[in-house]
């Protein structure tokens, strides 16, 4: 299979403009003859569904939450980048493009990344017009803050709830189209499979989570906006129900999965407190502006933080990276925390935590200034841990946060299956091996508002309206498979809960395919995952029936897919014999312990094709070309 990026030729700043002109159009009167299915109602799915309906297409939108407004985009705190240059500090579309491609360690597609930066400015205009209450200056104009990986202030924000406000903006646009009858919304409905007709994606099979009824839905194209797979680690900052199922089902139907090993581990999260832990909570990266990170110098030092004298503390980031100090990038900070904890110098009951200490900043600026800057985060920390961070240092530890990998798409955001489009975190295209802060919201909305509505029109115009109905045999066959799978899960009646398997998989993935990976560990994981999967299918206990609301059954289906998907992640991590961005292979590092990229051999997108469960998927490579920004080595010393 030859992977064609379909990125247009010509100067980078004119590619998208040229492409928009070259694409075919569907005339306004004909748009109503086409129907699109959108799976997911987050920033990408919600904005796409609304925009397509505004254009005149018919849209069916599905989400497993009880309301479209609850998609996980809502949890994003910090902000959204846009190259507006409102601060007059030298920002430009090109600079945002450059920061993003460099931040991704030169493993993303240039043309896609440039387009992302280009449409970023339209997103802010759109959101403001919708009534999104961004932070403002006293003069009435928009405020900006700075964020990691950039030397300009280009981040727009709405207090610590930027994701919520942007999502509610998209949800309001979507609600309007639902009210107008152009979008049919299906909440509490989960996609369980993809249906192909003559090689094109023409529908999905879903389960109604209230009645348990399995039904088919047909359309002229299917858009997956189903988010990332960070919950493969069980513990992550993702919402509890985030899963890989929709993307993985598409993979099993022939869509390629690209760079699954690129998973971002965020350095500042509240550490695990016990086995019952269900999720990890992020503490905004901005805290590292004023907090100092340290652990005791001595192993197993169990004294209280206040009792450890200054000369017995190791401010390891300041020691190792004097010029960046506590503001070293996410991947470096995360790996350093793991290192000191593995040495036995971690803090807290479990020993997997490091201090983030505000004593110096409070001494220098006073408690009031710190409260004004971070008050809501300090409150949240206290609510969760019961400790007062004004008096004792916070304890933090890295956690799974975002996944850069996803289904392979071309420049049109279309997968290798014609008619199957993938947007937002669910695709792989814009962030390379590492994502910069405040770029996830930008990508979700760029794809949904400003890219997909154009590119899908070209597909429609080329293939024509097919008016496919869900009573065709293709749908009935897939429905039958879905039912059989559900019945299988319910019939095992073993001894272990679904969660216990998920936790076990999560521990394996975290240990062998987490912040640092090596050949031996990955090979071990590749032996253990299939064995765990077998135990799952023999011993899982799912109570209740398929014909009712059944949370264990829903969860069982998702965990079953994670148990297959985890293997693909490890295979990809094993294949990539280099360190780049968030993918750190211990064998490939410099003498100083920094990531060692191998551009000669690995400057490609690894796109995997399903060959059967338990069989090695086939690797297809999309070679990356860097026409405008040549790959360089990052240094933070």
């Amino acid at each position: 299979m030859k992977l064609e990026s379909k990125a247009p030729s010509g100067p980078i700043a004119q590619k998208w403009e040229k492409h928009k002109f070259d694409m075919k159009l569907v005339n306004p009167a004909n748009k109503r003859k086409y129907k699109a299915i959108v799976v997911g109602s987050g920033l990408a799915g919600g904005s796409a569904a609304a925009s397509l309906a505004e254009l005149g297409y018919n849209v069916d939108c599905f989400c497993f939450q009880d309301s479209a407004r609850r998609a996980h985009s809502i949890s994003a705190q910090g902000g959204i980048n846009a190259a507006k240059n409102y601060q007059n500090d030298g920002d430009s579309v090109y600079r945002l493009f450059y920061d993003t491609i460099k931040g991704g360690d030169f493993r993303s597609r240039e043309a896609n990344t440039y387009r992302l930066a280009e449409v970023s400015v339209n997103i802010i205009d759109q959101c403001v017009a919708q009534g999104v209450p961004f932070a403002r200056e006293y003069g009435g104009l928009l405020a900006n803050r700075s964020f990691g990986g950039a030397q300009v202030s280009r981040t727009f924000y709405a207090r610590g709830q930027t994701g919520q406000q942007l999502l509610l903006g998209a949800y309001s646009a979507l609600s309007r189209q639902i009210g107008l009858g152009k979008v049919k919304m299906y909440p509490r409905t989960e996609m369980l499979d993809l249906v192909l007709v003559d090689g094109h994606a023409k529908g999905i099979v879903v389960r109604n989570l209230v009645t348990g009824k399995v039904t088919s839905h047909a359309a002229d194209a299917v858009i997956l906006a189903t988010g990332g797979y960070g919950n493969v680690f069980y513990l992550s900052t993702n919402a509890m129900a985030c899963n890989v199922t929709a993307a993985y089902r598409a993979y099993k139907r022939g869509a390629l999965f690209a760079n699954p090993c690129y998973t971002q581990i965020h350095p500042t999260c509240i550490p695990v407190s016990g086995d019952y832990q269900s999720k990890l909570t992020l503490m905004s990266e901005s805290l590292r502006n004023d907090g100092r990170i340290w652990v005791p110098k001595a192993k197993g030092d169990k004294r209280k933080a206040a009792d450890i004298p200054e000369n017995e503390r190791d401010y390891y980031l300041e020691r190792k990276y004097p010029s960046f100090g506590n503001l070293a990038p996410r991947d470096i900070s995360s790996r350093s925390a793991k290192e000191v904890c593995d040495e036995g110098r971690g803090v807290g009951e479990t020993g997997y935590g490091v201090y983030l200490d505000f004593a110096d900043a409070i001494g220098r600026l006073g408690e009031d200034v710190i409260r004004e800057r971070y008050g809501n985060l300090f409150d949240m920390y206290e609510r969760i841990t019961g400790e007062n961070p004004y008096k004792t240092p916070m304890r933090i530890y890295p956690a799974s946060h975002y996944t850069m990998g996803g289904l392979w798409v071309d420049y049109n955001l279309e997968s290798n299956i014609p008619g199957l489009f993938v947007i937002g975190e669910a695709n792989f295209s814009d962030h390379g091996a590492n994502r910069l802060g405040a770029s996830a919201l930008m990508q979700g909305l760029a794809d949904g508002y400003f890219v997909l509505p154009y590119t899908i029109g070209d597909y429609f115009a080329r293939v024509g309206a097919k008016n496919i109905q869900p009573d065709r045999s293709e749908f009935k066959e897939v429905e039958k498979e879905v039912e059989e799978r559900t019945n299988k899960l319910l019939s095992i009646n073993g001894t272990r809960s679904v969660d216990s398997f998920h936790k076990e998989l999560g521990k394996l993935m975290w240990e062998y395919c987490g912040m640092a990976r090596n050949k031996q560990g990955l090979e071990k994981a590749l032996q253990e995952i299939p064995a765990l999967r077998e135990r799952f299918w023999n011993d899982v206990k799912v109570l209740g029936e398929g014909s009712e609301m059944n949370l264990s059954l829903e969860n069982a289906g998702r965990v079953a897919d994670f148990l297959e998907f985890g293997e693909i992640m490890c295979i990809d991590a094993l294949d990539r014999e280099e360190s780049c961005g968030a993918h750190f292979r211990e064998e490939y590092q410099t003498d100083e312990g920094e990531a060692l990229r191998n551009d000669k051999k690995y400057s490609y997108v690894a796109a995997w094709e399903h060959r059967g469960v338990g069989k090695k998927p086939e690797l297809h490579k999309e070679e990356l070309e860097f026409e405008f920004e040549k790959p360089a080595t990052r240094s933070y010393k």
């Binding site: 009880d66 407004r69 609850r70 205009d125 009435g140 646009a173 919402a239 019952y276």
Partner: protein
């Protein structure tokens, strides 16, 4: 700590429902309330009992999925806190805890503690938006907005749509929820064009869904995890009267 739970179990919408008693033993003070329920559910599955169904997702207090009436109070007794952010250190060994669903005519129970809050979505579909299509909008800084107005809009926009306000109100009024959205748009220039139409449409849908009226007990404000103020209700009523005095 060891606790006794009295949990509302209801197989489906047709079932009458009842309180069942469960023991929750060896509960750590560091657990969240929902993690405590996870532990009980693991135990129930082991015993072959259908686990307790409840809505939840982000578990960081922002998605608005979690609900529960805990000892008579929506989201429990801790101020400005969703159920998922309530931790067990606020309970004592030997406590008996009553756990019930959000109750309102417009929020029918689906199963156990899970209720149908789609009435909120339908109110939003009636008018909770500014009618702008994607593209063709002015530059973001072409609409200057005084900081005070933007802050006020943000205070109202912080609503997570959980429905605790309805569950706390003896009239099952949704006016805090509707008022929050009406206030957000009424304080912004973008919301002016459809100001009257929005107030009329959202209030009409609110009534059609079967929510009651406000009788000024302010229980909604007391339980709101995002501390939305009842002044948004006054604002909504004012907007509604203003709309009523203009032509529809």
């Amino acid at each position: 700590m060891n606790l006794t739970l009295k949990v509302w179990r209801q197989k489906n919408a047709q079932d009458k429902g009842r309180l069942e008693t469960y023991e929750a033993n060896n509960i750590s003070e560091h657990m969240s309330f929902l993690e405590m329920l996870d532990v009980v559910n693991e135990q129930l599955v082991g015993e072959g009992v259908d686990p307790i169904h409840f809505d939840h997702d982000c578990r960081e207090g922002i998605c608005g999925a979690c609900s529960l009436v805990i000892n008579g109070t929506p989201h429990g007794h801790q101020k400005a806190t969703t159920t998922c952010q309530l931790h067990m250190r606020h309970f004592k060994d030997g406590d008996t805890i009553y756990i019930e669903p959000f109750r309102a005519k417009a929020f029918p129970v689906i199963k156990d503690l899970v209720v149908d809050r789609s009435a909120f979505d339908r109110i939003m579909q009636a008018g909770g938006f500014v009618s702008v299509n994607t593209g063709g909008v002015p530059d973001a800084n072409a609409i200057p907005i005084p900081k005070e107005a933007a802050d006020k809009a943000m205070d109202a926009a912080a609503c997570i749509g959980c429905g605790a306000c309805v569950a706390a109100c003896k009239n099952a009024s949704a006016m805090l929820f509707v008022g929050a959205k009406v206030s957000q748009f009424a304080s912004l220039p973008q919301g002016q064009v459809e100001r009257e139409k929005r107030a009329r449409a959202m209030v009409a849908q609110m009534d059609a869904e079967g929510f009651g009226n406000c009788t000024n007990f302010f229980e909604c404000e007391a339980v709101c995890p995002k501390e939305i103020k009842v002044s948004v209700i006054a604002k909504m009523i004012r907007e509604f009267f203003r709309a009523a005095s203009t032509k529809s």
